[in-house]
């Protein structure tokens, strides 16, 4: 098999990798904000439950979580797993896991904003929702760009974990081709793909950071 064919085969899984990547960001970031707010709730039981869930999600392997999400409905309820479930389980597993990480980042970001910001907004008559959306949230985004960038870079690499559910993304293809050829070359090619993907991610995050640097 020529290098070109190998690249074509691996690239055919790249769309699936992108799908996991973007869907995970799309679901986990808003979910992370909500979870962070729940985690900071003055209602202690809620805050404690969320703290416990976050702790488990961050303290156990993502691969294990993916398997649990995938087989859970079958073992728990005897539900027959459909073919689409591979993708859905992958997206659910990734989104929940990353939401836990983002929640902790967002919580730290919100708590790092001086309390005077909320107090000034309160005296000016902003509602709690207005204060969060107009004053706290934009400042939180700016403050959390560096740790969020780290997570996004990790996510690019973590998408390869979907192979445990045999979801056909780039890494799954690379492994199959590698096995068929008895060669490591396809894995190196996949490595280059991930690396370039992350270069692009870094550039994009850098742009966002620059765009937000109009204030300190």
């Amino acid at each position: 098999m020529s290098l070109i064919t190998v690249m074509q085969q691996i690239a055919s899984g790249f769309g699936a990798t992108l799908l996991i990547f973007f869907c995970t960001l799309l679901f986990s970031m808003p979910l992370g904000v909500i979870v962070a707010l729940g985690r900071m709730s003055k209602f202690k039981p809620l805050s404690l439950v969320i703290q416990g869930i976050i702790s488990v999600l961050r303290g156990t392997p993502l691969m294990l979580q993916l398997i649990v999400v995938f087989y859970g409905p079958y073992y728990a309820f005897g539900i027959k797993l459909s073919t689409n479930w591979r993708l859905y389980a992958t997206l659910i597993g990734f989104s929940i896991n990353y939401a836990a990480y983002f929640a902790e980042i967002f919580r730290a970001g919100i708590q790092s904003i001086p309390v005077g910001q909320t107090e000034a907004a309160t005296v000016l008559g902003y509602t709690k929702v207005q204060t969060f959306l107009k004053i706290i949230f934009p400042q939180m985004i700016k403050r959390t760009i560096p740790p969020v960038t780290n997570e996004v870079i990790t996510l690019v690499k973590d998408t390869s974990l979907s192979f445990v559910l045999a979801y056909q993304e780039m890494f799954t293809y690379a492994k199959q081709v590698s096995a068929a050829m008895s060669s490591l070359m396809p894995l190196f090619v996949a490595g280059v793909f991930y690396y370039i993907f992350n270069l692009v991610v870094t550039i994009v995050m850098d742009r966002i950071e620059k765009a937000l640097s109009y204030y300190n």
């Binding site: 001086p114 000034a120 005296v123 008559g125 107009k134 400042q139």
Partner: protein, 255 residues
């Protein structure tokens, strides 16, 4: 009827009683200065008045409208959110640390709340904000971000932001304490001008000469109590209470 009244406020943080049965009322056009050693409860009193802190017991009244009153057990109970929202529009607060919104430029710091909280007409608000910016000596700075301004300029923006809400009474919590000494003058000048325009103000300050000049009435607080209250020439120049004398003497020594 007084514009602002806070009656028999008590407030504790844990076991620490910070305000002991304090009563203050302010008439329209009056300028009241609050002085006292650090930790005496001055900020807590302003924070109770502006509802950043809830009173344990006491009454809070603006224009005769009760924001809070005691229940049968003597515990402060606050009015409904809708009523509190209305009452909040009667006052403004200028913080020691300015607390400007760093992601908004000067103009937006001034205009955002009038437009989105008070739902006023945008064109009018911008016009009024530009006039306030000029009045504060900040012409041409409307599109600067707070970080690009000196501390004194930031505090003038904060005063303008409070004024842009058209409050009936303005509270200041040590408005010059975070500033380098050479910058305090510009803030005091602005407050003095507001006093001449008969803006109702309550000012917590360590600037004794300024308090004597500008205030109609001075309140000396210590240990969560009002120790002495009266005309500035009495309280600052000829205090009767021993504690007031000691406080002022310490001040005179330190310059």
């Amino acid at each position: 009827m007084s514009l602002f009244e806070i009656k028999n406020v008590s407030k504790s943080f844990g076991d620490l009683k910070v305000l002991n049965d304090i009563t203050v009322s302010v008439d329209k056009g009056e300028v009241v200065a609050i002085i006292g050693p650090s930790g005496s409860g001055k900020s807590t009193l302003l924070r109770c008045a502006t509802m950043l802190e809830t009173m344990d017991s006491g009454e809070l009244i603006y224009h005769g409208e009760k924001a809070a009153a005691n229940d049968a057990e003597g515990k402060a109970v606050y009015a409904s959110n809708a009523e509190l929202r209305k009452i909040k529009s009667y006052f403004g607060l200028v913080f020691q640390q300015f607390n400007l919104f760093p992601h908004y430029d000067v103009l937006k710091n001034l205009c955002d709340a009038p437009i989105h909280v008070q739902k006023r007409n945008k064109t009018e608000v911008v016009k009024e904000a530009m006039a306030l910016i000029a009045k504060m000596g900040l012409e041409g700075k409307e599109h600067y971000y707070p970080q690009q301004l000196s501390g004194g300029q930031q505090q003038r923006v904060a005063i303008a932001r409070a004024l842009c809400m058209n409050p009936d009474i303005l509270f200041f919590d040590e408005p010059t304490s975070a500033l380098d000494p050479e910058l305090t003058g510009e803030i005091l000048k602005v407050i003095r001008q507001l006093a001449q325009e008969h803006m109702t103000m309550v000012i917590v300050t360590h600037e004794m000469a300024f308090a004597r000049d500008v205030a109609d009435r001075v309140i000396f607080m210590d240990g969560g109590y009002i120790v002495e209250e009266g005309r500035p020439e009495d309280v600052i120049t000829n205090p009767t209470e021993e504690r007031t004398k000691r406080f002022l003497a310490r001040f005179a020594e330190n310059g």
